[in-house]
Symmetry: C2
């Protein structure tokens, strides 16, 4: 059993080349003893974005709040609060906050080997 | 790439013995090609609860909205919007909506073998 209130989880600026205005929290990870998957939360400021990149593992995402877009495999999809997104392994992808005044906050779950 | 808006995902009454006032949605599962993990969403009505049970896999939970409690290993913990909870394999657990007027809505992620 492990409980973490998001507002109490340390927020850091991740070392991600190509990211702009992105903050990271890690409420559930291998350090907490997760058997398989870790949960991170990214907060993206208005105009900010994650890197346009790919990697050999999937993302399972949920939009906690805000509006933005996800680029995947050369297509751009609008995303909003309440959306679930699965980015498959090796898909080139990028999240963007397309609003001018509100953060985009997303859960980003990955296999524990990566967090 | 797979996107599912929660409000458009079919809501069913799950076949869970011991559950009361519980509805289930499955925005990401093996049917969508998830490599490792599936995301379900449970909506628990005021006064409702999931079964008091255990199983050989973990739950990774996020409280989308509402207030309630989670019983785990004979202790009861209050949970609220914004909380992340990890229930480890084999822990006896139960979610309860302790409010009188608002739903408790939680993400419940499990290994894809189970959903």
């Amino acid at each position: 059993m492990h409980i973490a209130a998001l507002e109490k989880v340390k927020k850091i600026v991740p070392d991600m080349k190509g990211a702009k205005g992105v903050y990271k929290q890690i409420p559930i990870s291998k350090e907490d003893g997760t058997p398989t998957f870790s949960f991170r939360v990214f907060t993206i400021e208005p105009g900010g974005h994650t890197p346009l990149h790919n990697h050999p593992f999937e993302h399972l995402n949920y939009v906690i709040e805000g509006n933005g877009s996800v680029m995947a495999e050369n297509r751009e999809y609008e995303v909003k609060k309440g959306d679930f997104i699965m980015v498959l392994p090796d898909e080139v992808h990028q999240y963007r906050n397309t609003s001018t005044d509100a953060p985009l906050v997303i859960i980003c779950a990955v296999p524990k080997e990566y967090e």
